[in-house]
């Protein structure tokens, strides 16, 4: 952030702390991209947006307590850093708790419609794989399992690309037939 923008933010946040509602929009416009970028820099994208929103709401919630002598940018980024730390802890906890613990929660299980769609797609995939040459199927299965056959890397990558191309073609055929 440039010096002029930083001074503007300082001025507007002071006004907001004083109760001047006119300063709300300028503060929002300056802070939101900044906090979003900061969160995106520190967190994976799935968590960054939520953390940035939480940080923004916290900044506005505490705007009345903003000390006019402090630097507005540092103050806002300090709040954002705390929210990012909290988001990281939440993420860590999610990793520690296996997905089994979510099994009992409503909405986690597939709905009958989702299950039917997934089953249909699986059948189409099997049909498409069966339509491929045995060599292509074996290459794709090895690739999906993360296995590397006794081949040079570039050769294997080319085979995978070619097999994927054929699979797409077979998929289109069998999927169109099912429609």
């Amino acid at each position: 952030m440039e010096r002029v923008e930083r001074e503007e933010l300082q001025r507007h946040l002071k006004q907001l702390a004083d109760g001047d509602r006119e300063a709300f929009h300028p503060v929002f416009v300056r802070l939101w991209p900044l906090l979003r970028g900061f969160a995106a820099h520190c967190l994976p994208w799935q968590d960054a947006e939520d953390a940035a929103q939480e940080a923004l709401l916290r900044v506005f919630s505490r705007a009345a307590e903003f000390d006019r002598e402090r630097d507005a940018l540092s103050w806002a980024l300090g709040i954002a850093a705390y929210e990012i730390r909290s988001a990281r802890k939440r993420r860590q906890r999610r990793r520690e708790n296996p997905p089994d613990s979510l099994a009992g929660r409503p909405g986690v299980e597939r709905s009958p419609e989702d299950a039917a769609v997934a089953g249909d797609l699986e059948q189409t995939l099997h049909a498409a794989l069966a339509a491929l040459q045995p060599g292509d199927s074996a290459t794709l299965l090895a690739y999906a399992r993360g296995e590397r056959p006794d081949l040079p890397g570039p050769t294997f990558r080319k085979r995978v690309e070619r097999a994927l191309g054929r699979l797409r073609g077979a998929w289109r055929l069998s999927h169109d037939r099912r429609r």
Partner: protein, 178 residues
């Protein structure tokens, strides 16, 4: 993020801001009322002063939440009003109450009112507020002063109000004359 999602975020941020201001105003008003509650110690009939303290709390919440000139006026008025609020209680504590009657001499309220008015006029002129500022300051000062001077009866209350008016008018008149 879509435009609709960003608009929703603006609304949420605005609500968070207003809630934050209200929370801050509540805490500050509670602290202010707690200070004025010192004036109720030893008061034989605290109902009237307690009602004034509650009203002062509501006025402070409203002004501090609204902010800008309202908040500045209420803050200054409250600070000036602490003189007539606490001085009669201090006098009462120094001269123990006589039985159930605990009247504060109206002269104490008049003097305290003049001091509060001088503070209000002198500091208010430096802040250079508008009509809203003076309205908030006057209401907060009168309510805070009433908490201390209500025990002195109507004479104490009127004395305090006249003292504040005279005290505040003096610096204003001097500055206009200069």
């Amino acid at each position: 993020m879509t435009v609709a999602a960003e608009a929703a975020l603006v609304v949420r941020a605005h609500r968070a801001y207003e809630r934050g201001r209200l929370r801050s105003a509540l805490w500050r008003a509670a602290a202010a009322v707690a200070v004025t509650a010192l004036a109720l110690i030893g008061c034989p009939s605290p109902d009237g002063p307690a009602a004034c303290a509650a009203t002062l709390g509501l006025v402070l919440i409203a002004c501090l939440w609204r902010g800008s000139v309202w908040a500045r006026g209420a803050r200054l008025g409250f600070l000036a009003g602490l003189v007539p609020c606490l001085l009669p209680a201090a006098v009462r504590a120094a001269h123990a109450c006589n039985g159930n009657t605990c009247l504060t001499p109206p002269a104490v309220c008049l003097t305290a009112g003049v001091v509060a008015g001088l503070l209000l006029g002198w500091l208010g002129l430096r802040i250079a507020g508008d009509g809203r500022f003076w309205l908030a300051a006057a209401v907060a000062a009168l309510l805070a002063g009433a908490i201390g001077c209500l025990a002195a009866g109507l004479a104490g209350l009127v004395g305090m109000a006249l003292g504040i008016l005279a005290g505040a008018a003096a610096p204003v008149l001097v500055s206009r004359a200069a």
